[in-house]
């Protein structure tokens, strides 16, 4: 069963009408062709109307849409059965909120790393809602070093409401784990491409977010804090999340304007959650293009450019 957000309700209504018309046509021999065509026209128009006027808060909602594909779905689809998941940080445990491993994009071996969310209640808990512990970040770093050793490009897929703020996470150095990843990612001698596919919340996102190219899917968000937490802290109430979402300039288009991300990856008009195959295909094409371009650069220069890229971020007077 597909899930519809409140602002997607008109789409749901039209889809239901189309279904009804089709059923009626089949059952009663009536020619519903024109009626269906008319409704499909309306649906397209309505979809366009809704999805070209999304507010920042609606995009945040879309980034968390229960039907939206998660990291492993992208990896599995793009690598067509060649992906092999690798586990563990070699120190503490295997963090289920962070996944990774080698797979091939049309013959090119790539290291994929990303936060993983779960699709149902049980899996959401198993994946800790995509909130990694220090061992998750250390697993990610181990895999990045592995890729570097064998000269394979790295693709990270970011989708997290934040690094896990738990007691053991603090004991095991959540801050240090993220800091170490940021630092080490600067120096990697292989191409690194980071893609925000859903939620990009704060240090938890940046812990796998340092690369030569930073991309965002159209309906994802990336910022220093979630709009809800921002609302709670600055407005001292949960009720200003929509205002906070606007103020934070966290959408893909705003982040591109701020020159924090390099490219916005277009989603299907109705959102990635309605047409999985289409977004998998789009992203695969984009990644292949980026990897090909980055692979041509000298590794030392590529790393120096990466540091420079982040050094240029910020506005002072």
């Amino acid at each position: 069963m597909a899930t519809y957000l409140d602002f997607e309700e008109p789409i749901k209504a039209l889809e239901e009408q189309i279904e009804k018309a089709k059923t009626l046509g089949e059952e009663s021999d009536m020619d519903m062709g024109d009626k269906i065509k008319e409704l499909e026209g309306k649906l397209e128009k309505k979809t366009k109307e809704i999805f070209t006027n999304l507010t920042p808060w609606q995009r945040v909602q879309l980034s968390r849409h229960p039907d939206r594909p998660y990291t492993l779905a992208y990896i599995n689809a793009m690598t067509e059965g060649t992906f092999q998941e690798l586990h563990g940080d070699r120190n503490v445990k295997d963090d289920k909120a962070m996944v990774g491993g080698f797979g091939q994009l049309d013959g090119q071996t790539v290291m994929f790393i990303g936060q993983q969310k779960g699709a149902n209640t049980k899996m959401r808990q198993y994946r800790n809602f995509g909130m990694a512990n220090p061992e998750g970040y250390r697993k990610a770093l181990r895999l990045m070093k592995l890729a570097e050793k064998f000269n394979k490009p790295i693709v990270t897929l970011i989708d997290t409401p934040g690094a896990f703020p738990g007691l053991e996470a603090e004991e095991r150095g959540q801050g240090e784990a993220i800091a170490r990843n940021i630092y080490e990612m600067m120096k990697l001698k292989v191409p690194v491409i980071c893609v925000v596919i859903g939620e990009g919340a704060s240090g938890g996102a940046l812990g796998i977010g340092v690369g030569d190219r930073i991309l965002m899917l159209e309906n994802s968000w990336y910022s220093v804090i979630s709009p809800e937490n921002c609302s709670t802290i600055l407005w001292r109430s949960w009720d200003y999340k929509e205002t906070a979402a606007e103020a934070l300039k966290l959408t893909s288009t705003d982040m591109k304007k701020l020159k924090i991300v390099d490219e916005v990856v277009k989603e299907p008009l109705c959102g990635a959650h309605r047409k999985h195959d289409e977004i998998f295909d789009t992203l695969k094409k984009v990644l292949k293009k980026e990897i090909a371009a980055l692979s041509k650069l000298d590794p030392i220069k590529r790393s120096a450019d990466r540091i420079k890229k982040f050094e240029n971020m910020g506005v002072t007077k």
Binding site: G166, L167, R172, I182, Y183, I225, I307, E311, G314, K317
Partner: protein
């Protein structure tokens, strides 16, 4: 020895805010309530003689503690915040900046300077908690980046004194990127073979912990400082029970392997000076 020669009124003030004592002449320890004269308190490095509580102090006090004769050359003192997001919450960000500048006499949450520590040239970037909770935005990132360039140019040791609630929300994505910017610059300091001492003071949390504060060649801290990634309130809410005693203190962080040593303020200069000598000679 006079520990705190205030040359300009208005620069950070550990004594100015002590409202419970008349005209700031007296200091009452927030922990054990012992009352001493403000002058004696300053002479004792703002540490309580009785319970050894370390009061929060600002960049100026640390510069006075560390630099020989309290002499230093400050860099980029005028660099201040833009408003790239046109951010407004209950107040305009630009107004908040102006008001905080007027109140504290600071331009932003960090000051960077070069001076000598027992004759050893050192660049120090010291954060000021008084400025929007020591929050890190573009100015903090840029000043750290430039301070690292200064240390590389002078081929000297580099230290950051962290004191921050984390990244500055009003610069949102750009604040977050300062974690990356500062960490990237630290790789250049490392390439130059120069030591980076990360000194964590109360409090060091959030984005600062998830970047430069945890990346020292040595990480050191003052006693009893709050050090963590997530704030204690958030951790408490997450686990749904009370936090163990001493959770996220310097001593806790040392015990879990993320600090090299804890140093009392009275020994601060001597210990850091020793570390620098061991690295540089």
């Amino acid at each position: 020895m006079v520990w705190f020669k205030r040359e300009k009124e208005g620069i950070t003030t550990s004594t100015k805010d002590k409202k419970e004592t008349p005209e700031g002449l007296w200091h009452k320890c927030p922990k054990c309530k012992t009352v001493v004269t403000a002058e004696d308190h300053a002479k004792n490095f703002y540490v309580c003689d009785r319970c050894s509580n370390h009061d929060r102090i600002g960049s100026e006090e640390y510069f006075q503690i560390f630099f020989d004769e309290g002499k230093y050359k400050e860099f980029d003192a005028k660099l201040s915040s833009g408003d790239p997001l046109k951010f407004t919450d209950t107040k305009k960000y630009t107004d908040r900046i102006k008001a905080t500048q007027a109140k504290t006499g600071l331009t932003d949450a960090i000051r960077c300077a070069k001076g000598d520590i027992d004759g050893q040239p050192t660049v120090i970037a010291a954060m000021d908690f008084a400025f929007i909770g020591g929050s890190m935005g573009s100015v903090v990132g840029e000043k750290i980046a430039r301070a690292i360039d200064q240390a590389i140019k002078a081929k000297c040791a580099f230290m950051i004194i962290s004191k921050s609630g984390g990244a500055r929300m009003m610069e949102a994505g750009l604040s977050l990127m300062q974690l990356a910017k500062t960490s990237g610059k630290l790789t250049q300091l490392a390439d130059a073979g120069l030591p980076y001492i990360s000194f964590l003071t109360d409090p060091t949390t959030g984005g600062v912990t998830a970047s430069f504060a945890m990346l020292g060649d040595i990480n050191i801290a003052e006693p009893g400082a709050l050090i963590g990634f997530a704030g204690p309130r958030v951790v408490k809410e997450t686990i749904g029970r009370d936090l163990p005693d001493g959770f996220q203190t310097s001593e806790f962080v040392l015990e879990h392997g993320f600090l090299d040593y804890i140093v009392e303020r009275q020994n601060l200069k001597a210990e850091v000076s020793k570390s620098i000598r061991l690295f540089m000679s």
